[in-house]
Every structure is written in structure tokens, then in C-alpha cells.
Symmetry: C2
Subunit: 467 residues, 2 copies
């Protein structure tokens, strides 16, 4: 995969330029030792990064302003970075860039229970914000599987989803306003502190999911939501086929259960978890659904979901007796990616189909895996139609072998044929660049280029990513 | 107020150009009789429109494409129009424009209960879509007061809110994808049919609320939501002071009641309704709150809201015994604007403050009204902090007298001082142009200009509006 930017053709970085940056930022913030900068150059993909000139550890908005002014003056590409937990290469360093690491900007500047908002810096760990809100009976809803290690900044960059977003929406739905440093160092404030507002264009929404290509987010005003009063009612259902599980998902949605979590794991995923954590997986189990309801009548809803699972062929459905048991179950789900990483290198995909297409899409993936002889483990935020087929390949290989790319290519095409999208929540990054045009088409591409040009005329912001 | 576009400096429309348009579109779609076109030139504001060259009644996307190609070729400004129920001058004709009326494009192209989405044309009446969805146990959540007469297209243009948006969000929150005809006639498809997706920039969100300045929306894929199974539990509370009512609102939000509707009416508004419909308004009543809960435990929530109203000084709280009574009550609320229109010409404002600032903002408005000697009637989507102070003035005047503008100016400044916004749901249109810079600032303005330039380089789309 290419890690070189397409837009920028010549850079003029040199030792004196870096010295200038050090002089502006002060000591301890500019790292240039290649062994150190390499550790800031990668995300969680297999993608081989370019060599950064430096990694900057920003501590304030003014640091970010200084970096962007300097980068504009010297035409140096800047790759913003949160915790590096991305799965699409959005934070992968490009050759000759400065990695702008934002994890030190980790203050919750404000948390207002009365207005149900918080103002946070990009380096705040997602779960930390959620915990801070819980102190006031509130929650920060978006909860990507990685939420104990990912940052709000990274979540904003990719418009991250998560397990709860089947009920509460994705990161964009929780974002009211942003403070952004533009490519030339100007500071732009978007949005508002109010829950409604239509003054001007929706620049807030435009930045969310733009993968650091339009500006560097240095603060966000996010919406908090009322936390459920009791721990959600939880069930886990085992199925003899993945398609049955998908049919149960469709039935649960169609019945209006409004689950607050509805996750699906296939046998390969369960096996990987079982090999690691010994969960006592039965040989006949081909799929598991985990469902929660945090509604006031959650127990009744869980009971209805249990019936619908049984109606659709579930062999065993357990209602979690207590919170600890349920949390362990959800913990296993959050562990799925790490379990698969133990098997080898992973190409993690993130397709999303209209919910009614889920059973067919599941069948299509099984068929593709069989035809290409490629093992695919799939977990899904099933209630959203968001599937993560994971292609595991030999750790010795620098990138996926041709049959994996061929299988992935078919998965994308089958997704688009069903009215779906290439990426539900991970972003395009570098990884999905080659399929982007299939979904967007030439008019969208022209508009994307035009928008990019408005915000980043020199093409220095995370070049080659997202669009 | 100015109704002339700022961007376009010379137009070359003439009789032959119009003849060309008629030839392309066929008979019956191009109206040029000034008496007729004048009726397409106004919205619900007092603003005196410019004279349109013609009004085009588009029947298809291809008609819109033809109009935009023609308009680009001849540099004719185009003002898109839904039902003309706007309250900010967004659809007010500019001199020498073509009004592009979209009310004939009123098909619900698709309604998928399984995917909980609909694909609709811009001329669909909002309440009609909601009714169509109810056939399947679903609803279209956004419900501006005007929803029986406003169109989806107009709602998209202004990112309309409504009564239910305190729980279900505004129009943007229900919009998944758009079909848009750009200024030069190219067709852009944005977004998706899936509930999640992060491929490319959020162009869908960018168009929603852009007031027809970036393109003409010819279809929208919208999200439907599960309709509550029973009619919401409803209470109405009367207060001796508006500030008490606002305090009750803050208490209801802080207690986590999550109302599905929370509306406030001041005495002046109630009086206007009483004068019209004879609702038996008591002399001591200075404010009314109407609250609903559509939760499963709605009756219990309504009871809790009743207690909180009483704790905050409500003199009388009635729980509506049945659906008919509750619907009448909500009907009165929806009638508020029409009741005020009977009193004279109206300058309708639409400020929104953080919810905790509601009581103070209410006091500030009362103070401003007293100091300027200007009567202000206020209704509010109180649960969102969204206030509609309405300045009623003599119908004989062509526009609000100076003291009304001065009072409005103070209302805007007090709003912004509290971290609020000029417009919660009506849009900037022409009416709020003169205050826009106070909220946005120079960097945002530059970005707005840049974005506008990408989509509409000739400046022919609804010039002088929104940004």
C-alpha cells in the first residue's frame, strides 16, 4: 500500500527547519530520534509507514498553531495522531512528515451536568470521559471497542461508532462544536454549546470523520446523555448458523425492540477468543448474539429478544443473571480484535449494509471465504448492519497476500451492490483508498477535492488519506 | 431589508433566455405573469421580495437539472422554494431570479419498514411522510410547528426542528443521504442508505441547513424511527411567572425525565390564542408548560414532571385524560404563530441558549421588552433552550419600526453572551444577515465563502442568503 502523499510534490524540510520548530515550541516536545519517531508512525494496521522527520508532542492549542504555521511555511506534511488505535491507516506517517501527537492534550476542560455537555481536548481517553460523566448520572455514548485506549480526537477523526451506537448514534451525533487549527494556523470555532442551531454551514459535521485532512481538532464540545439507571438487561444467544443469527437480528429490529447493544460474533471469532480465554465454546455453535436493552422495561425487552432468537433457531439463550456476568460477556466482545491479532496479521474491514441486507451479506461473505480459500472471522455491530470481516494472514508477510485482497475486493463489491458503504466507523484512511471511487463517483470526488482545497490549499494535512 | 443579491453583479436574462427555458422544460412549467410570480416570491416574513423573472414548477430531477444548466449559462440567480412557510426570508425572491418551486416533486419514492428509511422528494409535506410511516409503526420524527403545510425540502434547507426534537433531534439527525443538483446541473449523490457510514466528507450534513445556497435537493433518504405504541402521556402546567416556568423546565431536564415534548408559552401568546379560540385563560396565568413523555413508563414520567412543575410554583397542573384532549392542547401550541399573526405583522426570532441559561434568558427578554416599550410574545421549545420571541408590529408598516429592531438586536446580543446561537431552527435567511458576523467571526466567514465557491462559483444559488 502506498504511504506517500499524492498531493504534495516537493518538501523543503531540513535540519534548520526542525531547529526552528524546536525553538518555537521549547524543549521536550520535538522528537527526532528515528527509533522513537517510528513508534509514532504506525497505527494498528500492517501498513508500513513513511519516515517522519519528527514527532511533535503538543501540549496546547498554541503548540498546534505553531506547528501548522511552521508546516505551512516549510511545506511539511502533518499527520495528526491520537492514540494510534486506528484500523485504516488514517494516522500512518507519510514520508517526510511531522507526526502531530495530541495525547498530551488530555484535559476535560468543562463538564456541565445542567447543559449535559462537556468540553474536552483531543487526547482524552474515550472511556475516561464516559466515567467522568457517570459521576453526574450522564454518559458519553460513543463507545468504540477500543474505548479504553482510543482518544476522543481519534474518534472524531473517524466518526467512530461503537457498541451503544445502535441506540445512541455515532460520534458525530454527540458532537456540538469544535475548536480547530487550520492548515495555516488560523483557529476556527465551529458549532455551539446549544443542542440546536443552524447559523452557517455545518462545519462541525464536516470535520468529524474527515480524518485530519481538513484541520487539527484541539477541543470538542460534546453532548452527554442521561445514563440508564440500572445496568442493561443482557442476553446471549447461540446459533447453529450465522445466517440464523442474522435473521434474529432482523427480527429484533423489525419488532421495535430498540436494543442498546446488538453484537454478533461468528465461530472463527469465538474460537479465537476460546483459544485465548477458554470460554467453553461448544462444537455446534456457529454464531453468538449478545443483546442488551437499557430501557426502563429492559427485562421485558430482553425476554422478547430471547423469544425472537429462539424463533430464529437459537439453540441456547442465556439471560445474564447479574452485571458482572454481563460485563464479562461484553468484555469478550471488546476483546475480539485482540484475540484475532494473536492468530496473525489482520486486514480488518468495516463494511455496513442496510439492516435488512444483513443475512444475505453474511451469506455472501461465507461464500467469498470458501471460494477464495481465505479464512474470514466476522464480528458485527449487527443492529446497525455494520460488519467487521477480519482477514487473518501470515505474520511473516509484509501485507495481505493476493487472495486476501481479492476476497476483500469482492466483499466491498457485494456491500456496494446491496446499497452499503465501505466503512461504517473506521474511516477510509489509506486502506480503502483503492475502492473509494467505487462508492463515491466522479462528482463527489471533484467536490471532495474542492472542499479539501478550501481548508488545506497546500495539501499538507494528512495527505493521501480519506478522500 | 435588502433583497438584492450581493454576489452576482450582472445578469443577462431576457425574453429569449426565458423562451429557451420554456423550450427545454415544455409547456406549463414556466410562469412569468408578474401577479403569479409574486405569489411565489414571498415566505411568511414581512420581507418585500425582488421581482422574479419567472417561477418554474419543477416536476422531476431532470427539470431541476435543466433549470440549473440554463441558469448557469445565463448567470440567472435561482431561489429554490418549498411551501414558502419559512420565517427567515430564505425563500424570498431576489431581483431578476428564477424561483424554482419544488412542491410538485412530492413522491415518497420508497418506504422500507425493514431498513426504517424512506426516500422522498422535496415537495412531500412533512406530516404526510409521518403519516405514511405510521402505517408501519414508524414515524418521521422532525415536526416543525408548520409540519402540516411545510415540505421536507424546506425542512432540509433550514435543518428544521420541531416539538419532538427535544427527544429525537432535528432534521439533520434524520437525514442519511441526498440527491442534489449542483449549480451547474451536475447531480451529486451524498450519504447512504445505511444507519452508519464514514466514506468521504459529510456532504449530507453540509447541505442540510444550507438554505439552498449550495445545491438543490431533489431527493432525500431519511431515517424513520419506531413510533411510540401509545399516545404520549401529557401534562399542562400554569405558572404565575415565566421565570418559574423556565425553572421547571430546567428541573425536568436535570431530573432526567427525557420528555418527548416540552413547550412553553408566555401570557401574550396565550392571550392571542385565547382571543382567537377562547380557551378560558385565567388572569393570573403568566405562562404555560406543555410536556409529554412517550416512554414506556410515560405515565410515571408525566407524574414526576407534574411534581417538578408544582415544586417550581405551578398554580395548576392538569394531566390530559385522553388523546383527544392532549392533541387539542398540542394543536393550540402549533397555532401560536397564526394567533400572533392576527395581531399584526410579526418579526419572529429563533434564538437558542444552553438549557441552563433559559430562566435568565427569559428574564432578559422581559427586561428588553419593558425597556424598549416593545411587546414581545414568546413561545419556546423549552427543553432545547430554543426561544421564539415574536415582535408584533403595526400591519401598516412595511417593516419593523426602529425600536423593534433595537430590541431584537439586544435579544441577539444577550443570547450570544450566554453561549447561545442566533437561530435554532429557522435559518439565517435574509432576516439574520446583519447579526451573522457577531456569532461566526472572520475565520468562519472566510471558510463559508470558500465552501460556497466550491459548490456555486457563479454565485447564482439563492444569493445573499444564509452565509
Amino acid at each position: 500500500m502506498p504511504a506517500r502523499p499524492a498531493g504534495v510534490t516537493s518538501y523543503s524540510p531540513c535540519v534548520t527547519a526542525i531547529a526552528e520548530l524546536v525553538a518555537v515550541l521549547g524543549p521536550g516536545k520535538v522528537l527526532t530520534d528515528p527509533d522513537v519517531t517510528d513508534s509514532y508512525a504506525r497505527d494498528r494496521t500492517f501498513l508500513e509507514p513513511g519516515k517522519p522527520l519528527a514527532a511533535v508532542l503538543a501540549e496546547s492549542r498554541d503548540d498546534v498553531v505553531a506547528v501548522m504555521r511552521w508546516a505551512s511555511a516549510h511545506r511539511v506534511p502533518v499527520v495528526p495522531r491520537g492514540a494510534g488505535t486506528g484500523l485504516a491507516g488514517g494516522a500512518t506517517a507519510v514520508e517526510g512528515c511531522v507526526v502531530l501527537a495530541l495525547h498530551r492534550m488530555a484535559a476535560i476542560r468543562e463538564l456541565s451536568p445542567a447543559d449535559e455537555i462537556a468540553v474536552v481536548e483531543p487526547g482524552v481517553i474515550t472511556a475516561d470521559l464516559d466515567r467522568a460523566a457517570r459521576e453526574f448520572g450522564l454518559m458519553y455514548a460513543p463507545d468504540p471497542s477500543s474505548y479504553e485506549i482510543s482518544t476522543i480526537g481519534g474518534n472524531l477523526a473517524t466518526n467512530a461508532g461503537g457498541l451503544r451506537c445502535v441506540k445512541y448514534g455515532v460520534t458525530r451525533d454527540s458532537t456540538l462544536g469544535l475548536e480547530v487549527v487550520l492548515a495555516d494556523g488560523r483557529v476556527l470555532n465551529t458549532g455551539r454549546r446549544t443542542v440546536k442551531g443552524v447559523t452557517g454551514y455545518d462545519l462541525t459535521g464536516l470535520f468529524v470523520g474527515s480524518e485530519g485532512t481538513l484541520g487539527v481538532i484541539t477541543a470538542a464540545t460534546v453532548r452527554l446523555r442521561r445514563a440508564p439507571l440500572v445496568y442493561p438487561a443482557t442476553i446471549a444467544a447461540e446459533f447453529g448458523s450465522l445466517r440464523d443469527a442474522a435473521a434474529a437480528v432482523a427480527a429484533i429490529i423489525a419488532a421495535g425492540c430498540q436494543p442498546s447493544l446488538l453484537e454478533m460474533l461468528d465461530r472463527a471469532t469465538l474460537k479465537a477468543i476460546d483459544d485465548w480465554k477458554n470460554i467453553g465454546l461448544e462444537p455446534s455453535v456457529q454464531a453468538m448474539l449478545i443483546a442488551q436493552s437499557d430501557a426502563v422495561d429492559g427485562q421485558a425487552v430482553a425476554e422478547r429478544m430471547r423469544e425472537l432468537c429462539e424463533d430464529n433457531g437459537a439453540s441456547f439463550v442465556a439471560a445474564s443473571a447479574d452485571r458482572r456476568e454481563a460485563e464479562e460477556l461484553i468484555g469478550l466482545r471488546r476483546m475480539a480484535y485482540h484475540a484475532k491479532e494473536r492468530l496473525g496479521s489482520c486486514l480488518v474491514e468495516d463494511v455496513c449494509v442496510p439492516r435488512s441486507a444483513l443475512p444475505d451479506m453474511i451469506s455472501a461473505i461465507e461464500d467469498i471465504a470458501a471460494r477464495h480459500g481465505v479464512p474470514i472471522c466476522t464480528v458485527a455491530h449487527a443492529g446497525d448492519g455494520n460488519l467487521h470481516p477480519v482477514f487473518v494472514f501470515d505474520r511473516g508477510l509484509p501485507e495481505p497476500p493476493p487472495e486476501v485482497w481479492a476476497a476483500a475486493d469482492e466483499v466491498f463489491r457485494e456491500t456496494l451492490r446491496r446499497g452499503g458503504t465501505l466503512t461504517g466507523e473506521h474511516g477510509v484512511g489509506l486502506l480503502k483508498q483503492r475502492w473509494l471511487a467505487l462508492e463515491t463517483g466522479p462528482v463527489t470526488e471533484e467536490i471532495h477535492r474542492g472542499v479539501k482545497q478550501v481548508f488545506d490549499p497546500l495539501g499538507i494535512l494528512n495527505p493521501g488519506k480519506a478522500v
